[in-house]
Symmetry: D2
Subunit: 344 residues, 4 copies
């Protein structure tokens, strides 16, 4: 397989490059960058010291004929313009940005404050959450790789919402993320002296991942009303934890709830449901494609607490994109992805 990565110098792009470099089915990886074409990737990333890969300028005509898969690891607004020029020939497009995840142009523009992709592209884009959408992904030409927060939240909520065990009007998601989610560009809120020994909350009920979450929840249960969603910046580089609160629609025992999760995820290699009474930490999935989760019922309140953790750059971005690539290319889903998490 011949692979192209557009936006190779961002965190998502360089993580894709790391994963694909050791993927056994890859024949070649081409790196593209509109702003840094001509440079070697190791000028930006000294950990790639000995890599000789040069950043190339975008050539859509050539790319769509020569490459099997094109990953777009570009900022919001870029894929909308780029994707129409990359489809129609051999290449399949996997977009890691938020541009192709919302079928409605209006909703996109409202939350992203940018012009939406063409309707024709949006209609063909398949939402790439493999544990819930595998067959559609396998047949896709364009895959919208899920956002980091939606991946953690949806995987955790899925079984209970789909079974209609959760009150659709009272879903609260308290999300926490490592700082790498903010990307490579330095800013005041990611400046070390400001971020270290600091816990910040931001975009309260205003994060652009909210419509992406709600859209999938309403697929599972059309009665779901808007969710409460807040995001916290944790002084660490990698990891997302979504702590979610809900109310049960009927009497369910702890064992039944655990069984429900097992029934949905028992066969999915990247979901690890914890034993009752145990909760995952973000480091449990560091640098891996796993999503670890647990759900418990508080006997005093009968409310449910669901905890879901991922590595935001992996299952929340690059490794999930590779999982989608495996599916769309007809390879075994776990190929090149069974890394044991890095610990400590």
């Amino acid at each position: 397989m011949k692979i192209g990565i557009v936006g190779a110098t961002g965190y998502g792009g360089v993580e894709l490059f790391r994963l694909l470099s050791s993927h056994p089915s890859i024949q070649s990886i081409s790196l593209y960058s509109s702003s840094q074409a001509g440079e070697n990737v190791n000028e930006t990333y000294s950990h790639l010291n000995t890599m000789q890969d040069q950043l190339q300028p975008l050539e859509p005509e050539h790319m769509k004929e020569e490459l099997d898969v094109i990953f777009l690891a570009t900022p919001a607004g870029v894929s909308s313009e780029l994707t129409p020029n990359l489809i129609g020939k051999k290449a399949k497009v996997i977009d890691l940005s938020g541009d192709l995840r919302l079928p409605s142009q209006e909703v996109y523009t409202q939350w992203y404050k940018k012009e939406a992709a063409p309707e024709s592209v949006l209609q063909r884009a398949i939402y790439g959450l493999p544990e819930w959408n595998k067959e559609a992904i396998k047949a896709a030409k364009i895959i919208a790789n899920p956002g980091c927060f939606p991946t953690a939240a949806l995987l955790g909520l899925g079984p209970l919402v789909n079974e209609r065990l959760l009150d659709p009007n009272r879903i609260i998601i308290d999300a926490k993320t490592g700082v790498s989610g903010a990307g490579k560009n330095p800013s005041a809120i990611t400046h070390f002296a400001h971020t270290q020994e600091n816990l910040q909350i931001y975009k309260v009920n205003q994060h652009q991942h909210i419509p992406e979450i709600e859209q999938q929840l309403t697929i599972w249960n059309e009665a779901v009303s808007p969710v409460t969603f807040s995001t916290h910046l944790i002084p660490m580089t990698r990891g997302i934890m979504a702590t979610m609160y809900g109310e049960l629609t009927k009497d369910v025992s702890a064992q039944q709830m655990h069984d429900c999760y097992q029934a949905y995820y028992g066969e999915h290699p990247f979901i690890r449901v914890r034993k009752q009474g145990q909760y995952p930490s973000t480091k449990d999935v560091y640098a891996s494609n796993y999503c670890d989760m647990a759900a418990s019922i508080d006997e005093r309140t009968q409310r449910v607490t669901i905890v879901s953790v991922i590595d935001n750059l992996m299952k929340g971005a690059a490794s999930q994109a590779v999982q989608n690539m495996n599916l769309v290319m007809g390879i075994e889903e776990t190929t090149g992805l069974l890394h044991v998490p890095v610990y400590p």
Copy 2:
């Protein structure tokens, strides 16, 4: 004023020592430790290098006659036994542990899994949340200094619960704390290589601070039912953020809600209510006695998100204890406490 600190080698004790060392009304500070009596405090704490203070053995009879204020910065279970021997003479007792905060022996034993203090002591203990209990504190002999999580949660919830603006059956508290809250003793979950780059959730709906929170909430509104409460360990040393979710009982505008907070806290020097649309970070209050807070209404859901931050060792422990000391000794409440937060 002559002061004694029992349990001076714990984090609470050493922070008290730091604050009282620069307090203008203090004549002498005596440090007590049952396990390390005879040692100099700088053998445990090298940052106190030049301090010549020796740890003394406990002498309750002498202490209660000679000291004006005795701080108990001891682990759960110790104050229950110690307090009866320290009262009845001159000394006032300010207990930083959880032993005297719950009037019901049964509730204490249920959550702390220890024997409770005598009824006679519990009945005399005043809950030391100065912004809500100032007059009782001034007249107290025994003060139960609030826990770190309850301080953050209660100060944030107080105005809305007391005004009955919050649905009493749907209060959710998602708490996050720095690691110093776990104290000085090394353990697997506070081991640096484990804690760094890690976000852990623990004691979901089982934290011993839950009854303390509920007890005060029901004072404000007797209709409050059990709360949902989860605690997260953040890879930082100091700071607590409580993110709280609730539903309004009636139509309230953002401005009205902000005015409500201002009405309650406008005259309280250590509460800083943020402008609408701004949220506090934990570093905003680092090494200070401030509690910064904000509340907002999500227009899509009409639910309220309240954010409250403190330094867990300061307003969550030692500096709040000094604030209580000031009140009970008839000194200006802010004496020795108007530190500008340490930043960056």
Copy 3:
């Protein structure tokens, strides 16, 4: 005393503001900023939430007549231009930048790559290392506050170099600093996701603090030749450790060396020499004006290892500037500076 802080929105300026806010001899503090005049300081720093201090434009004519002390906490190159307009009247100038520390214009320009201050200003500037230069400081009109690395290195080397116990041709300084030393402006090497879990070395033998160190060393022993000096960026916000290596010029016992340090520093309130066999950590002096140090002789090699730690924003910048202010204004040297270090 009426005080002005120029460059009040940098880390040095805001730390000065924190210290002076609780200094008992200060009547008023005026904050100046050329770029942010008209803003309130709390727009830049949310931890100053309730402070109502407005940033003022520079008015040198007015300032030099009305203010007792003007602190310049400005980037390199600014004080050179500003100082001539601020002297000659009542105000004393304490410059925290490197502009006035090197008497030679040529040396300054070589290392700082900027135009030097006028000769007349440089000749009047007194190097503000209080433990070694107290009398000159007391009589100064202009004080060049030492750099962070020079403070740590010189205080540690002083006794042995001044006693000519150290081979003047073989002084090696391996310096380590927290990230706040790089200032408030975000950059690639202070971006959290890059800095966390990373140890970086930079400006090897090229740091602009080198001539400042060598100049003072040659005052103590004119035979001192150029030093080896490397700087490391530690993933923490505050703190400097200088680990220094040298060779003895004659046979000295460990006890004699310790006595030598005690003889020099025993009466200096901010220097804490450790017991033999103990070494200081940076957290021992966190948020304080202390410099802790230790020196040992390796029996196998007869070489000396000297360790010196400071808080780079305090003894390495703001609190040392306040110490200089106390001296130049005839106040007790320790006024407003005896903070117990913040720990943990």
Copy 4:
């Protein structure tokens, strides 16, 4: 190949397990633990959640006949006793502890304060620094895997010492390590609240890795006299940087020095020598087997500064052990080790 890991629940053991789990030549991995036999490895390490590997009790007789390679990832003092029982049959032993690195029993006991391994074992143990000892490793039965600090220091010093370009009497090594080097057991100096925002120096000129370093240096140049060696604990989990200072024995240009390093390491896949003027950071080699290095000559002093970085748990322990396994088993040296470093 059938592999056994003794001491599988320590950081070295669990890192070996991670690497070998994705090594293409491994048929089976057996985990051994004397203290935790019978438990599943995921009871200690939740990141190994789905691994079903049970910890087995040691059975030396069986192990030495059935296993191809036995890794000993045990604390100092254990391999000394264990190794004699594991040799003589099929199994090759790779010891990650310091027990077999020092041929002299007397030197071992002096630095490790423990009883040394039998002479017969020590004489057969080959020092496993592949870049310098490849042929001997290939033929070994017992491999003493180098310590973390010696690996970083020796790889950096090797070319210049072996070429006798470095004054053998003036080698200074200022080493810095992440906290995982202290292992899995919680302690006061690795307690998060103490370690975070702290830089500690320890074992100044007393670290047990000193004789290991000197022994190899004297192999390269028998004139090398004792080195100065200090170790610093950096508030990060992984990574070692050794900053080394020396004096040239003859006039060498920067280009010649760089060429010297290239001549030694150009063909070694895991050594990456930086371009002149660039220095490596520890994160450049995170979770990889690389050792990145640079050396420069200070024109002012003619002294050399050498910087060498590794991941202490990888090239400083587990991945170097796997590199040794590859060599001793006749597999391509890089098999299972060409991980791109994890960044950010």
